[in-house]
């Protein structure tokens, strides 16, 4: 069942899916290296793209992927091992459990509904570090989930673009 007016999409390319996730991991690593500890407010682009594929391709990108990418982020950020892995797993679980409902909404509505989800993922990481005895990250950290939700429409447009091409390619037509 689909929302009225929603275009039929081409099947997704697994290669594109995997490469988008790896590219976001690299971008995350680069940005966090660039800003160091002052980059608390940076949006977690890898988490956002994981959520995107969880919502649009839940049978292909599942919780195991989220866990694995989380572990890589942990090692890169020299954070507590399992901190990102746990947050991404939980994020992925809730994204998968709400994916049918979410796709009935227009993109801005989806972004609004994702705010609590993205905030939960960050809260979980703050809570874990607080329990371990590292204190709290400070107010600028709250900007991150807001920025992620703002970026949701952009991510949707970019990552759905390959599936929105025509099913019968024509040399005389641009797309």
């Amino acid at each position: 069942m689909m929302r009225r007016g929603q275009p039929l999409l081409l099947p997704v390319s697994p290669l594109f899916m995997a490469s988008s996730l790896v590219a976001m991991l690299l971008l995350n690593m680069f940005l966090s290296d660039l800003l160091g500890p002052s980059g608390v407010w940076l949006p977690d682009l890898l988490a956002l793209v994981l959520v995107f594929w969880n919502v649009h391709q839940p049978r292909r990108v599942s919780i195991g992927w989220a866990f694995f990418f989380g572990l890589l982020m942990d090692v890169h950020a020299s954070a507590l091992l399992g901190q990102h892995a746990l947050a991404y797993s939980v994020l992925s679980y809730f994204a998968i459990s709400m994916h049918r409902r979410l796709r009935w909404f227009p993109v801005d509505g989806q972004a609004l509904q994702l705010i609590p989800l993205l905030l939960t993922a960050h809260l979980l990481q703050w809570a874990v570090r607080w329990v371990v005895g590292d204190g709290l990250p400070g107010w600028p950290a709250l900007i991150a989930p807001a920025l992620e939700a703002t970026l949701w429409p952009v991510v949707t447009v970019i990552l759905l673009a390959p599936q929105r091409r025509a099913h019968n390619p024509d040399e005389n037509r641009p797309l």
């Binding site: 290296d33 599942s62 195991g64 989380g70 797993s89 204190g135």
Partner: protein, 295 residues
Amino acid sequence: MLDRSPPALFKQGVTAFVKLTICAGLSFGLMGIDRHAGVGESIRAALATALYPVQFALRQPMVWAAGMADFLQQHGDAITENQRLERALLESSLQAQRTQYLTIENQRLEALLELRAIQSNHSIAARVVAETPDTYAARVVIDKGSVDGVLAGAAVIDTQGVFGQVTTVYPFSSEVTLITDPNHATPVMNARTGTRAVLFGAQKSGPPLLEMRYVNANADVKANDVLLTSGIDGVYPPGLQVATVNELPDTLDANYSTLYCTPSARVAITREVLVIIPSQPAAPTAAETDSGGKP
């Protein structure tokens, strides 16, 4: 009891909830063993080694940018910098000559008193390549690892004083916890009075500071007192400069007060550091367990 839920229409494999339970369980398990047992460290080291080529490539633009900034530095700046360095070299060569004399004298006296000889160390020059993105800790990554002979627990200094301690060693890089990390403790000795104290990293925004906690109201501490490593932790060699005491408040608290000190090492800007490898490997977390700073 009868199972009343209908069978699934489509076979979808393991349910998301089961997967979440497994992954969350694994995460909590990893958190438990991280930085404690050997297993956590080896998982981290294996993943870090796999990530290393990628991290290396991603950090190159920043290394180039730093090199470029050095290259584009004004000619006049370079000349004044050179003059300053020559002056500093002259001063330190004077000191070094005196130190040589004092070392020989000290050895004779130690032999006379039958004291245990102070360990001699060798050192490895390294370059700071990145700050770790983790907000909660003050750590940097250096470009030398276990392949180059870096050991966990080794002290790290820069030209001005103590910089930090190696806490995690990977094959090609290592993580250094700075002395300004809130969980890191450095045992020090006041050069003027000889009283011992422990400095912690201060959790304050602004320039990096160190805290001397629980100072008695009648303690003999003055502003600009120089604090040196005491060497009793077995990690830092004795006599390295750590910090100078900041301006004191007019009256010290009647109970215990906290004094702030400015680290001598330029922790925020230094790029070249020296890793001091003890001739007998120190226990990796000797400084941390000695002070009880880490849980």
